[in-house]
């Protein structure tokens, strides 16, 4: 499978050797802190930097113009867009995304993206300008306590105090962002440090005595796991984004097929296991499939791989998977037994554990279990009304038919996100990018921009589709022109129902149709005009028979984004659904009427 191998190829440290080689000629030279910083980015093989200049980082931008470093700088139009773009870059390529902004508002504008990356374990490094060291604490112009503001939403953060420290701190920041459970790292760069001179040095070694990547995968654990797996009658694999971060998808697929164990994935796990495989149950959780959630509730063994038992997965924790023993393979120890007690845990990277476990376990005969799941599958398939109205699910099915799954789908947050999770049928790792943990509206467009530029930087030719609702699209619509300026041929889908659809759905289901402030009819722009004003191609479909035509026209555009506005019906709801505070077997589906909730 092409993308599985590209993902693995990107994880090879060769990419980083390129960076090291690039800076050899500068080692030992005296230069400004700003240039040391640029050389340190080159050393990390940062290929694209998403940034926005300002007073505190003006010297960095000045040196950028002077020394022409080997990375591409992309001027985003809002720092939040920059952080999401870096996330998209990281998720599409598996490499660390880079952001450069100024102090004060530049830094605070990145906070949403940093929090998003923290929740979703996305490796990004955000460099923020800072007022000169002597002014820190003086309420100087554009001063913010960036370390304080970002402390609880970063894996780690740094304040640089001397130009000579820059290469070490930058190296540590990338190392921290990339290894273990990935996450965002912030490096605060005071202006005087960037202005003063120092000698550029580069040392590949990492000396952090408080940080190591765990690998708990001993004989005793493996033997226990084998016993648990071989004695299970109704085993189930529950796979999260960690499997993709660990490049464990091939190992996982072999493991599941070898054992003949069905696989359900979380939202971030989509693509880790091919959804066209008969063993795939699709997504579980709040808007997961009926059969995946039924399988969870009846399983007697759940093997969780790189997943964190989020509340959108478990619903009511006390009643989740009441019969299942849990084996948890997880790199972040604090996720083990946090929400659901793990009977056996491997605090390790998923790939070596799955590879060590596979040859030890005998293939399973669990025909009755498969039959049972098949029954649930037939009992309640995903469906939507076929009445000629334009519905988002139909659009997604047509997009899926167009790409055949060979595309990177970047979704926003809300109904569009859940439908895209249900209907796009992901078969490759890194083909699905979304804001899951934080649920950041406005994520999709800039993240798609970052994904497109990242794939280009690594020479991977893949279509990037940005899927949006009309609400979220407006939150970072300014980045459209950036994508146009860089000739990124994004396929931008806007499912326009003139509503904040997911809130509307909750208002209809749980708040007696009081549609309080969710109607966007009066505040939505004309999306086609907006897109064209941003130098993009734009098309609109209002009926089902126009959908394929619009998709064809959009796919014919190859030098700039093509925006497709689909005027979909506003009443459409995402089903099935586990309401908040309910357990996974109390789903609202078209068949299982919601009488328990009204």
């Amino acid at each position: 499978m092409s993308s599985a191998s590209t993902a693995a190829a990107l994880a090879e440290p060769q990419a980083r050797l390129r960076g090291k080689a690039a800076v050899q000629q500068h080692i030992g030279k005296r230069m400004s802190g700003a240039e040391i910083f640029l050389r340190a980015l080159e050393a990390e093989d940062a290929r694209v930097v998403f940034g926005h200049p300002g007073g505190a980082v003006i010297h960095v931008y000045d040196e950028m113009a002077r020394v022409q470093p080997n990375f591409k700088h992309v001027l985003v139009r809002h720092e939040q867009g920059g952080t999401h773009a870096a996330e998209g870059y990281a998720k599409a390529t598996g490499e660390v995304g880079t952001v450069l902004v100024t102090s004060g508002p530049g830094a605070t504008n990145t906070v949403t993206g940093i929090a998003d990356a923290f929740m979703d374990s996305v490796p990004i490094v955000v460099f923020t300008g800072q007022v000169p060291l002597p002014l820190i604490g003086n309420d100087a112009f554009q001063e913010t306590d960036t370390l304080g503001v970002t402390r609880s939403i970063t894996k780690h953060n740094y304040l640089v105090r001397a130009p000579e420290d820059i290469p070490r701190i930058v190296h540590e920041a990338y190392h921290l962002a990339r290894t273990g459970r990935p996450g965002p790292v912030v490096v605060d760069l005071p202006k005087d440090v960037l202005m003063s001179e120092g000698v550029f040095a580069y040392d590949d070694a990492i000396r952090m005595r408080g940080y190591s990547v765990p690998h708990e995968c001993d004989e005793v654990r493996l033997r226990r796991a084998v016993r648990m797996i071989e004695s299970a009658q109704r085993p189930l694999l529950y796979v999260g984004g960690g499997a993709i971060n660990a490049n464990a998808c091939e190992a996982l697929t072999e493991f599941a097929r070898h054992l003949n164990v069905p696989v359900t994935t979380s939202l971030h796990g989509l693509g880790a296991f091919p959804e066209n495989d008969p063993l795939s149950l699709g997504m579980l959780g709040m808007h997961g499939t009926w059969w995946a959630n039924q399988a969870v509730q009846h399983a007697d063994l759940i093997i969780a791989v790189g997943a964190r038992f989020d509340d959108r997965v478990t619903g009511m924790v006390d009643r989740w998977a009441p019969h299942a023993a849990i084996i948890h393979i997880e790199i972040d120890k604090s996720c083990i037994s946090k929400n659901i007690y793990a009977d056996l845990a491997f605090n390790a990277d998923a790939k070596p554990v799955l590879e060590a476990l596979r040859p030890l376990v005998r293939a399973r005969k669990v025909k009755r279990w498969h039959n049972k799941i098949q029954g649930w599958r037939e009992e309640c398939p995903l469906s939507y009304a076929d009445d000629g109205e334009l519905r988002p699910q139909f659009v997604l099915e047509r997009l899926r038919a167009k790409t055949g799954g060979d595309a990177v789908v970047v979704t926003d947050v809300g109904q569009n996100q859940m439908w895209a999770a249900q209907y796009m049928n992901y078969t490759q790792p890194r083909s699905h990018i979304t804001s899951g943990g934080l649920g950041t509206m406005g994520f999709s467009l800039p993240a798609a921009l970052g994904a497109g530029l990242g794939l280009r930087a690594y020479g991977i030719d893949k279509t990037v589709i940005s899927i949006n609702g009309d609400g979220g699209f407006m939150m970072n619509a300014q980045e459209l022109a950036v994508a146009a300026a860089h000739g990124v041929p994004l396929k931008v889908v806007i499912m326009n129902n003139n509503f904040l659809g997911m809130v509307r759905q909750w208002q209809e289901l749980f708040h007696e149709n009081r549609f309080s402030h969710t109607d966007l009819t009066d505040t939505n722009p004309d999306f086609v005009q907006l897109a064209r004003a941003s130098r993009c191609a734009a098309f609109r479909a209002e009926r089902t028979d126009q959908v394929d035509g619009v998709i064809e026209k959009a796919w014919a555009v190859d030098d700039r984004p093509a925006v497709m506005e689909f005027r979909v019906v506003k009443e459409e709801m995402v089903f099935p659904m586990v309401p908040v505070g309910k357990s996974s077997d109390e789903m609202i589906t078209s068949k299982h009427a919601p009488e328990t909730f009204v």
Binding site: S152, G210, S337, Y341
Partner: protein
């Protein structure tokens, strides 16, 4: 809730017990005080990261003491906190997750020495003063400051001892109390044969 207690599966019982949550309806949760020692990078912002983690994740923080160790690049924290098994294990894991923490050690349940220092100013004159000094003697306290109206006393000992002393001083009129918070250290294991060679 009682309905739930009846319908618990064996697996749910395992989970509840592992978390230290009550299995029978109406039973109190098993919350214990723990003393956790942390070796930390002695660098800017390291302490605040630890304290911030407690507040960000809603963990209880009874006391924290911090001081540099024999290695000037390492500081040592002694944290006193409370929670059930699940909460304490989360606290330990979240502490370990911080990049600045070098070592995390829950000394609760091991053989350890624990001390707290307290300086207390007591308002007393005349025969009252003799009484206070007598109690101070019993507690092996030290007089660190004297004025005609005030005695400042220093008490060192396990927290219960300090608590007891403060309580005994209350009737005399406490002017001010400063307590250091607890520090704890595990005892070295005793040689099995009593130490002779």
């Amino acid at each position: 809730m009682s309905e739930q207690a009846i319908t618990l599966t064996p697996q749910q019982l395992i989970r509840k017990r592992a978390a230290g949550e009550p299995v029978e309806a109406g039973a109190a949760p098993d919350i214990q005080q723990h003393i956790i020692n942390v070796l930390l990078e002695n660098s800017m912002g390291a302490l605040i990261r630890v304290v911030n983690m407690f507040s960000a994740r809603g963990f209880n923080l009874d006391s924290v003491t911090v001081g540099v160790t024999e290695d000037p690049t390492v500081s040592r924290l002694c944290i006193v906190t409370r929670g059930n098994v699940r909460v304490i294990s989360q606290i330990l894991r979240q502490l370990n997750r911080l990049v600045d923490t070098i070592e995390v050690d829950d000394v609760t349940g091991t053989d350890f020495v624990e001390r707290e220092l307290c300086i207390i100013k007591v308002r007393c004159r005349g025969e009252k003063r003799a009484e206070v000094l007598q109690v101070n003697e019993i507690f092996r306290g030290r007089v660190v400051d004297v004025t005609p109206d005030i005695l400042a006393l220093e008490i060192v000992g396990p927290t219960q001892k300090v608590d007891a002393f403060v309580n005994l001083m209350k009737p005399h009129g406490i002017d001010e109390v400063a307590r250091s918070g607890r520090v704890a250290m595990q005892r070295a294991p005793q040689p099995a044969d009593g130490g002779s060679d």
